[in-house]
């Protein structure tokens, strides 16, 4: 059974600081996803990581995937208030090319303070 664990679950940061959110998953998964959710809103796709060593960056966010360690990280550089949201990682349930459903972590609620 695939399980996805994120930490920390809550993160309070000061503007301008750097931090990393960690996402561990328990069994083989061929894709790792990061989503952002603002209060009362749906999920916005941030990154899809498809292979070992994949690194993607968008603005102040950078995501990476280590399939051997079953670990993905979401690194935040020089945080700004607009990044305050809940961030979810998710792993793909099926391995080997099919779509399959996503298994989500519990989410990391990020609060960036001035």
């Amino acid at each position: 059974e695939l399980k996805v664990e994120q930490n920390p679950l809550f993160l309070s940061m000061q503007e301008g600081k750097n931090y990393t959110i960690y996402c561990n998953y328990s069994t083989t998964s061929d894709r790792l996803y990061w989503y952002r959710q603002d209060p009362g809103k749906s999920l916005e796709s941030l990154f899809v990581l498809l292979s070992n060593g994949a690194v993607k960056q968008e603005g102040r966010l950078m995501a990476s995937l280590d399939t051997k360690a079953r670990l993905s990280t979401l690194h935040i550089t020089a945080a700004v208030h607009d990044l305050s949201a809940t961030y979810f990682c998710a792993a793909n349930m099926n391995y080997g090319g099919s779509q399959g459903n996503l298994i989500f972590g519990k989410g990391t609620k990020l609060s960036v303070k001035p």
Binding site: Y33, S42, N92, Q99, N101, G107
Partner: protein
């Protein structure tokens, strides 16, 4: 282009009533997923449709839940004899097979069972 749409956006129903939730996926997307999000359980997979294949119903929590997808497009999630524990936000997502595998989420339907 148009994203995933869901209706209604909010639904309040009395315990024991049946409800139908609708999802319109992105045009041309072959895969459609239903998830639900609640405070206690986080984001949970419910059911997955892929083309003309039999749906993956492994996430449905009880036989009161069912879903269909007509013509490979619109999907309806039906909950019979609703219970208070069914209160949650029901999210629909769609994706295009073998492209980015990215799942695009709709705005959700907030279901409240009184």
């Amino acid at each position: 282009g148009a994203g995933v749409s869901q209706s209604p956006s909010n639904k309040v129903t009395e315990k024991g009533k049946d409800v139908e939730l609708r999802c319109d996926p992105i045009s041309g997307h072959t895969a459609l997923y239903w998830y639900r999000q609640s405070l206690g359980q986080g984001l949970e997979f419910l059911i997955y449709f892929q083309g003309n294949s039999a749906p993956d119903k492994s996430g449905l929590p009880s036989d009161r839940f069912s879903a269909e997808r007509t013509g490979g497009s619109v999907s309806t999630l039906t909950i019979q004899r609703t219970q208070q524990e069914d209160s949650a936000v029901y999210l629909c997502a769609s994706s295009l097979l073998q492209v980015s595998y990215e799942q695009y989420f709709g705005p959700g339907t907030r279901l409240t069972v009184t």
